[in-house]
């Protein structure tokens, strides 16, 4: 396959916003996301060292089946996202929209699962600053706070992603996003895959390390 | 130096300071004079033209390597003296330093407590620092030592006082409203005098006053009439004050009941003009009686 990515960086684009430039912007945005979540992962690892035993015992209280299911849901959605882009570029607009809708559906499914998971814990009285939690060991307080903050922020990202993909589906329908100008969809994909990667790390950190 | 050199650490710090400031002043003078010289020497005049000099690799290397060496020297000087200042000898007297908003309490091994840090001249002392509420920092300029008091963990400092006298203690980590009033003194006494004090001659003060000290009340309230964060205790009993009770102002006369209520529920009646920042401090009924009794007779 002939590789025709524009690598002549010195050239000025008449269209002003070129394909590689737009993608570079998105990647840089993702770097900031890496550092944003990085701060939380740092806190996680620091407190895990401090409260190893508490972290282990707390992690065993999370539902490993739900966690695994959610991992697979997100991975699958990521694949459909990638497929939707390649379908669009092959000119199969309908199929691309269908894949985007499936991605949205899986994202929503993920959030619904998360909702049930959170409510189960909240039902037990475990949420930040709850009397039940404050009675527990300090390491457990920190673990569950980390759990809520990290999965919560991740969930927020999923929610935003779902909204953006919905907009993209509409754009594809109206052909604002087309086989010749699909960088918006591709950037949405980058974002979605990044959200997936964050979960790939959250999953073992909270569910598996027992 | 600007202030007394009253501990072993001060010697190390001041020696390092002189060397590093010496290098710094030399560098500053060098840079500034070369700069001024070039301006006057190459000032634009009619007919003069700039001669293009593109730079030189040799020069770049020289003025990278020399600074690297200089700063490494400074680092080593700082690191050496730092290590000396941080390594406490094994045989050492320890004193607990308890920081809270906004006062210091010093606790000795024999149970003695004091709001002034009394130490014997020439004997190494280790301070075990902790905080009850927010971050504070224990600082004695004359000793050139400082360390934060962090809630939830313990930090330490040590020093050997080398000059008799009394020196300022400051809090250098901003800790709220009364931060700038969070002062105390370190009193360096001859060993004999210290031993007498330590053994407890004069230790039996008034129980109420002792409690006010231990509980940190005197961080905000004085017994001599000066104003700190809260109203003074001097002559408080029988004083007529305006208080704000759940948003409404009313005038009352301070009596035993009011005093006790103010300790048990500080937010209930706030004296007008003072901020509502007093924390609830646990006291036993017996302690409360002792405090009330003391305040009643403080004129």
């Amino acid at each position: 396959m002939r590789n025709t990515v524009d690598r002549n960086e010195g050239s000025i684009s008449e269209k002003h916003l070129d394909y590689a430039g737009a993608k570079m912007g998105m990647w840089i945005f993702l770097f900031t996301e890496i550092l944003f979540f990085g701060g939380l992962f740092l806190l996680y690892s620091v407190y895990r060292v401090k409260y190893l035993a508490d972290f282990h015992s707390s992690a065993s209280e999370l539902d490993i089946v739900l966690g695994t299911a959610n991992t697979i849901i997100l991975l699958t959605s990521s694949m459909f996202m990638a497929l939707s882009i390649s379908s669009l570029r092959k000119g199969r607009k309908g199929r691309s929209i269908l894949f985007q809708l499936i991605t949205i559906g899986l994202g929503v499914f993920f959030l619904v699962n998360k909702y049930f998971e959170w409510s189960a814990h909240i039902h037990q009285g475990i949420y930040p600053d709850s009397p039940v939690l404050l009675d527990m060991a300090r390491g457990r307080i920190i673990f569950f706070s980390l759990y809520y903050v990290m999965t919560g922020l991740h969930g927020l990202h999923v929610l935003i992603g779902v909204a953006i993909i919905a907009v993209m589906a509409a754009f594809t329908q109206r052909e604002t996003v087309s086989p010749l100008d699909f960088v918006k969809l591709e950037n949405t994909g980058l974002y979605w895959h990044f959200v997936d990667i964050v979960w790939i790390y959250l999953f073992p950190l909270f569910y598996l390390i027992t | 130096m600007f202030i007394p050199e009253a501990s072993n650490s001060a010697r190390y710090v001041d020696a390092a300071f002189l060397v590093i400031v010496g290098i710094s002043v030399a560098l500053l003078a060098g840079v500034t004079s070369v700069m001024l010289f070039l301006i006057f020497r190459y000032k634009r005049r009619r007919g003069t033209k700039a001669e293009q000099v593109e730079g030189g690799t040799a020069l770049e290397i020289i003025w990278t390597v020399i600074p690297v060496v200089l700063v490494l020297v400074m680092f080593v000087i700082g690191e050496r003296s730092f290590r000396l200042i941080r390594s406490a000898p094994r045989e050492i007297m320890t004193i607990r330093v308890d920081a809270r908003q906004w006062s210091w309490m010093f606790g000795y091994d024999n149970g003695r407590q004091s709001d002034q840090l009394r130490v014997p001249l020439g004997k190494p002392v280790k301070l075990r620092l902790s905080s009850r509420d927010v971050l504070h920092s224990f600082y004695v300029p004359a000793f050139r030592i400082k360390e934060d008091c962090v809630p939830g963990m313990e930090t330490y400092l040590w020093f050997t006082p080398q000059q008799q006298g009394s020196f300022d203690i400051f809090c250098t980590e901003y800790c709220g409203l009364g931060h700038s009033g969070m002062l105390a003194k370190v009193v360096v006494m001859p060993e004999k005098e210290f031993d007498e004090w330590y053994a407890g001659a004069g230790a039996k003060g008034n129980r109420g006053l002792q409690l006010l000290l231990e509980k940190g009340c005197l961080g905000c309230h004085t017994t001599d009439g000066t104003l700190k964060v809260g109203p003074t205790f001097k002559g408080i009993y029988g004083r007529t004050v305006t208080v704000v009770t759940s948003g409404k102002e009313r005038t009352i006369t301070v009596d035993g009941d009011y005093l006790k209520r103010s300790v048990l529920d500080p937010g209930a009646d706030i004296v007008k003009g003072f901020p509502p920042v007093m924390p609830k401090i646990p006291v036993t009924p017996e302690e409360l009686d002792a405090i009330e009794d003391y305040l009643e007779h403080l004129r």
Binding site: V5, V46, T68, F194 | M153, E154
Partner: protein, 103 residues
């Protein structure tokens, strides 16, 4: 946008399916390892597997494979930055926990 600067890679759907199968397999593997309770290494293995999965997503789903070198370098810088701040923070907490922490 002219046709010439649009990349042509990543059109085939087959690799995506294969990567997906790989990811699901790795998920199964990591859950199994966790159940085995290899206490000393469990955490390390889990993170290792997660990193492989993240790598697959990056390289194939996110097309990093086809991106110009400069993007890969940039990503490297971002990851380096993150690892350095974690490392430097641990130079504190690693030596601070234990001795001074109240029980």
């Amino acid at each position: 946008m002219s046709e010439a600067i649009v990349p042509r890679h990543g059109l085939n759907s087959r690799p995506y399916l294969l990567v997906w199968i790989g990811l699901v397999a790795l998920t199964a593997a990591t859950v199994t390892v966790a159940r085995l309770n290899l206490t000393a290494f469990a955490a390390l293995i889990s993170i290792g597997i997660a990193t492989v999965k993240a790598g697959l997503v990056l390289i194939f789903f996110m097309h990093l494979k086809y991106e110009p070198l400069i993007l890969k370098v940039m990503l490297g810088i971002a990851l380096l930055a993150l690892s350095l701040i974690i490392l430097l923070t641990f130079s504190d907490v690693w030596y601070r926990w234990g001795a001074h922490v109240h029980p």
